[in-house]
């Protein structure tokens, strides 16, 4: 087993938890699977997980307890001992814990082995287990097992992936909320309201002769509008949700030699990008992550934009334009030591104005005396943040501006539920479309079976989101709420 595949296990999103219709997923192994579950590389302790019916058998074969014989270990009791290879020779001193089927993360029988960190002992342990019949886990397979065993629902499975991928505190909060089921619960509440409305409509269809307190059209419309509002609000959290999950994407852009790469390096606190006095040094773009006051920010250093220049640079510029268009914010760098910068910026503003941007005036250290005063007035006109990438002056203020801009684009985390998956948003949008259709039909006085049709599709969309199946709850609702029957 090579390290690259172990690494994939750790970082990839589960591929197989996006609905049952998708048929390309590999079959779940009947066998026991194994993988490293802590980050690879040097470290104090590394953890190896076994899941599947033979986990305990494999542990017993390779584990020699420090004291006593290899009796059936008690669940959740950490044991100290040696991990041995098939011949019985010791590989590493480890702690091992056994979790019975039904009470583990995967829902399967599961074993976790904690060995010394570092490539060597991890590789030997995993190799020994594979030699004894375990299989290397595929990306996301542990989570898939958990989903298949019914321990977590679809949205929770996705949340696990998000938690693994979360690289800042905020994205971790959103993912954890989803995992704890708060998200499913919220969708569940929406669904419940929807089923209430449906029950009214269905009851009026199936029991036209009964004295059902038929919902007044006005009340029905009001209820529908509330529902639509809630679903829409939830769907709308996706923009912010995506930012929380994927991070805020910022492009540093500007004319050549404005000091974009210098700012990039400053933010990264390392010499990541090559910086020269030569305009057009950056030809490809560079992408790195920084943690800005708890926000994951993806900073992209792009090639300078201009019309002149050689062919290679032109390619770099095309790439720059493409990447800029996917960003949430543009940091536009201006070299205010240049004479014609105001004129140039004036022209660039036509293009910039349509995009979310922060303007940064670089090289204030190069503008002495009177020029600096003039520059300050001009900077005020353009609302420019003056910095010097050379001395670091103004960088703190720039970071504050940047984090303020991010905050503006974030959903309110304290409000709880946020959509972070594109799949979820798509289902919510589908539900939304049918809810609106239903409302229109109610308004037009269309017959109720048509309204019911759209509502049913909306419920199905929510059920597909959480992976729940249609049940008889509408009838149950009818019987519990109305005195019905002759």
């Amino acid at each position: 087993m090579s390290y690259s595949s172990v690494r994939k296990t750790r970082t990839s999103r589960p591929r197989d938890c996006h609905g049952l219709q998708e048929t390309s997923s590999p079959p779940p192994s009947d066998d026991t699977i194994v993988a490293l579950i802590t980050p690879p590389g040097e470290g104090g302790v590394a953890a190896v997980r076994l899941a599947g019916a033979r986990s305990l058998t494999l542990l017993n074969r390779h584990f020699k307890p420090h004291r006593g014989r290899a009796v059936r270990p008690q669940p959740f009791l950490m044991r100290h001992g040696w991990f041995t290879d098939a011949d019985g020779s010791a590989i590493d001193e480890v702690l091992a814990v056994y979790m019975p089927a039904g009470s583990s993360y995967t829902g399967q029988e599961q074993v976790e082995i904690f060995c010394h960190g570092g490539d060597q002992s991890v590789r030997l342990i995993i190799d020994a287990l594979i030699h004894s019949g375990a299989h290397a886990a595929q990306p996301g397979e542990f989570t898939r097992l958990a989903f298949l065993s019914g321990r977590i629902d679809l949205s929770q499975a996705e949340a696990v992936a998000a938690i693994i991928a979360a690289n800042t505190n905020n994205s971790h909060t959103a993912a954890r909320e989803q995992l704890l089921g708060g998200y499913s619960e919220h969708i569940g509440t929406l669904r419940e309201h929807l089923v209430d409305v449906m029950a009214e409509i269905e009851a009026s269809i199936d029991y036209p002769e009964e004295e059902i307190p038929t919902a007044e059209r006005k009340a029905l419309l009001k209820g529908m509008s509330e529902l639509i509002g809630e679903v829409k609000d939830l769907a709308d959290t996706y923009r912010g949700g995506r930012i929380i999950r994927d991070g805020f994407k910022v492009a540093i852009a500007g004319r050549p030699n404005a000091g974009k790469s210098s700012l990039f390096n400053l933010l990264l606190r390392q010499q990541r990008a090559l910086v020269t006095p030569q305009p057009g040094t950056t030809r490809d773009y560079l992408s790195e992550w920084i943690d800005l006051y708890g926000y994951a920010v993806n900073i992209i250093d792009t090639a300078g934009l201009r019309t002149k220049g050689g062919h290679v640079e032109k390619i770099g510029q095309d790439a720059a334009m493409r990447v800029i268009s996917t960003c949430d914010l543009i940091v536009w760098m201006v070299d205010i030591s240049r004479k014609r910068w105001e004129h140039e910026l004036g022209r660039d503003m036509k293009w910039l104005a349509e995009r979310r941007n922060i303007l940064v005036g670089n090289k204030i250290d190069l503008t002495p005396g009177l020029a600096r005063k003039r520059a300050r007035i001009a900077a005020g006109r353009f609302n420019l943040v003056p910095v010097s990438c050379l001395t670091g002056r103004g960088v703190k203020r720039f970071k504050d501006e940047l984090s303020a801009a991010i905050r503006q684009n974030l959903p309110d985390l304290t409000s709880g539920v946020i959509v972070t998956e594109a799949r979820h948003r798509q289902k919510l949008k589908l539900a939304l479309g049918h809810l609106r259709k239903a409302r229109t039909n109610i308004r037009l006085g269309e017959s109720p079976e048509l309204t019911a049709f759209d509502l049913r599709i909306a419920v199905n969309a929510l059920d597909e989101l959480t992976g729940r199946v249609y049940t008889e709850d509408i009838l149950d609702k009818i019987f519990s709420r109305f005195c019905i029957g002759k």
Partner: protein, 627 residues
């Protein structure tokens, strides 16, 4: 046991002569098989034990499907109906439902006559006491006389007779209906064969003497004229039409019933089995819905030749003296005389996981169950199952694959699928809300949906099929004509207002508008005649197709998705215990219900989408074809 063996070369034996039994025998006879109905009273075939009505919401769709498959129920109701109405006319045509009050005695007489004229159906008046087997296959039945009748297929349609126990107050009577013997030995025989037998409850109101009712205090509910008949084939004659009446319980009713909950076996603990929530007894209504002050009672005539009245909504198991007291508090019933007391009845049923969608039992090949034995309630539900069981018994003898409808084809398919995927907690009744493809499953298109099957199995005469094919063609032509013919807004008068921005509108678009009924549109259509307006049936069919066209297309996409999962077949002998990754509960449920397809597996309660995913992977490994 060797008794007197009477082998009269029957192919199919039907135990029970109710609505299920009669349709079962007739359907297998239409397919060329010789059938016999074993019943305790040959004069009571297809008796309406409870409500003297056929159809109603969700049920009328079943009746139309029975009719499209050559069954008798629609014709019998048409011939003996004394009041016809279509419910839900203010809603769309997908939920229009015909309901007929029938003359109870005339109905049974009609069916008895029809059956007696059928040369391939015999009626044996006896009690079937035992199911006989031979080498793991059904072999026939034993009668109470000790006589044995052999047949390669047996259909049990025993209704409330199986272990029937009537409750009136504290009084308990072993009976299948009031005054009729219960079939207890048959249910022992089923237990001996290893069937799980459960208990269900239903009830019926007291019957009243119509001459003792003050009709002036009740609201009249006349029928429709001309009567909307059920059957496409029956001669359009009917008995003299009658009127129903509507009345209400009073505060006094509530007081009396509420004060005497403990005297009803439903609350005293005497009855433990579950009754239908949609058809609660009057005591249940007051018990569960404390806030509701009054309940409506429909007074329905039992027939043209009798003054007996069925007070629909007053089902009760209270002691007889209290029934008298309580009924006389209802408006208009102050001097009412009870002719027969109401009662609750408990009976045996076999939880339906024990049957396949063909209605054959899993345990004993050749043995079929239909009607209340499967946990359903209602004449229509029973008749539909009887028909399917009859067809499939005949197909089994011919060694042909069974006839099974899916949920997108027929209400019958919805019902059978529900039975095969859900546990029964109360008697099962059809509702339109059970049919997720309701817009496509309508009264008006029952024949469009099922005629091909009827022709294939010879259930409907060939000339009738040909006639229907012509109707279909004319409908299609009408749809095309309405789509291509445009009318000037100016000519629409009042109706034209909603098309402000247009100068012309197609007739199809006009018909699609909400609040424009066919009756409003007909005079207009007549002016743009393509030769259709004289044939209301064609115009009506075309109008409905046009009205739903967009929705039905959308629904079709849902149906395609559904069919994809239905087409993944699961082998019947799949060993679920050997499938790793399934939850324990799922293994139990799947092994119990043995779904025929992946789609069906997903509908079984307790089976999660995760389980279905695991199952699909295992099926793939076994080389099961995925469409």
């Amino acid at each position: 046991m060797i008794g007197l063996v009477r082998n009269r070369d029957f192919d199919i034996l039907v135990v029970g002569g109710g609505h299920a039994g009669v349709e079962a025998a007739l359907a297998s006879a239409r397919m060329g098989r010789k059938a016999a109905i074993v019943t305790m009273d040959a004069d009571k075939l297809a008796l309406m034990s409870c409500n003297p009505a056929i159809g109603g919401i969700g049920k009328s769709q079943l009746v139309k499907e029975i009719d499209a498959l050559g069954g008798l129920m629609a014709e019998a109701a048409d011939a003996t109906g004394i009041q016809f109405r279509r419910l839900n006319l203010s809603r769309g045509p997908a939920v229009w439902s015909t309901r007929a009050q029938a003359d109870r005695i005339a109905y049974t007489r009609f069916v008895v006559d029809y059956v007696s004229r059928h040369r391939r159906v015999d009626v044996i008046e006896a009690e079937a006491t035992r199911i006989l087997t031979e080498r793991g296959h059904v072999a026939g039945v034993e009668l109470d006389s000790g006589e044995v009748i052999l047949a390669p297929a047996v259909i049990v349609a025993s209704g409330t007779f199986l272990g029937g126990l009537i409750h009136i107050g504290q009084k308990k009577i072993k009976a299948g209906r009031m005054g009729e013997k219960a079939a207890c030995r048959l249910s022992d025989s089923l237990r001996e064969l290893g069937f799980e037998v459960g208990r269900l409850k239903t009830g019926t109101p007291p019957r009243l003497d119509g001459d003792s009712i003050d009709w002036s205090l009740c609201a009249r509910q006349p029928g429709e004229e001309p009567p909307p008949f059920f059957s496409a084939r029956s001669p359009r004659r009917s008995l003299k039409q009658a009127t129903c009446h509507l009345t209400y319980t009073t505060d006094e009713t509530k007081a009396i019933v509420t004060a005497n909950f403990t005297r009803s076996p439903i609350f005293s603990g005497q009855i433990n089995s579950r009754g239908p929530r949609y058809c609660p007894s009057i005591e249940t209504k007051f018990h569960r819905f404390v806030d509701k002050e009054r309940h409506q009672i429909f007074l329905e005539p039992e027939g043209a030749g009798t003054s007996e009245i069925y007070p629909n909504g007053f089902s009760t198991a209270l002691p007889e003296d209290l029934q008298w007291e309580a009924i006389r508090t209802v408006v208009g019933l102050e001097r009412a005389r009870i002719t027969k007391p109401g009662y609750a009845i408990e009976y045996d049923f076999c939880p339906a996981y024990q049957i396949k969608p063909s209605l054959v039992t899993r345990r004993l090949p050749g043995l079929f169950f239909a009607g209340q034995i499967n946990g359903t309630s209602g004449y229509e539900e029973a008749a539909a199952q009887g028909l399917i069981a009859g067809v499939n018994a005949a197909l089994q003898i011919a060694d042909e694959p069974p006839l099974v409808f899916d949920r997108s084809e027929a209400y019958i398919g919805v019902m059978v699928d529900d039975l095969c995927t859900r546990s029964t907690t109360e008697p099962y009744r059809m509702f339109t809300s059970r049919a997720e493809y309701r817009l496509s499953l309508r009264e008006d298109n029952a024949r469009d949906r099922l005629n091909d099957y009827a022709r294939k199995y010879g259930l409907v005469p060939a000339e009738e099929c040909a006639e229907f094919a012509r109707l279909r063609e004319r409908t299609e032509a009408a749809v095309a004509h309405f789509a291509s013919t445009r009318i000037r807004i100016a000519e629409l008068g009042e109706l034209g207002r909603r098309f402000k921005r247009h100068t012309t509108v197609s007739l199809a678009n006009l018909l699609k508008q909400p609040n424009i009924s066919l009756d409003m549109a007909l005079p207009l259509l007549a002016r743009f005649d393509g030769g259709f307006s004289d044939d209301r049936q064609v115009v009506e069919r075309a109008a409905i197709i046009i009205r739903y066209s967009g929705y039905v297309d959308k629904q079709q996409r849902e149906i395609d998705k559904f069919k994809k999962m239905e087409r993944v077949r699961i082998p019947d002998d799949l060993d679920y215990d050997s499938l790793t990754g399934l939850k324990k509960e799922a293994i139990e449920k799947l092994a119990q219900y043995r779904p025929g397809s992946l789609g069906q597996a997903g509908r079984i309660e307790g089976v999660t989408p995760g389980d279905v995913a695991v199952l699909s992977v295992h099926l793939r490994k076994r080389g099961v074809a995925f469409p």
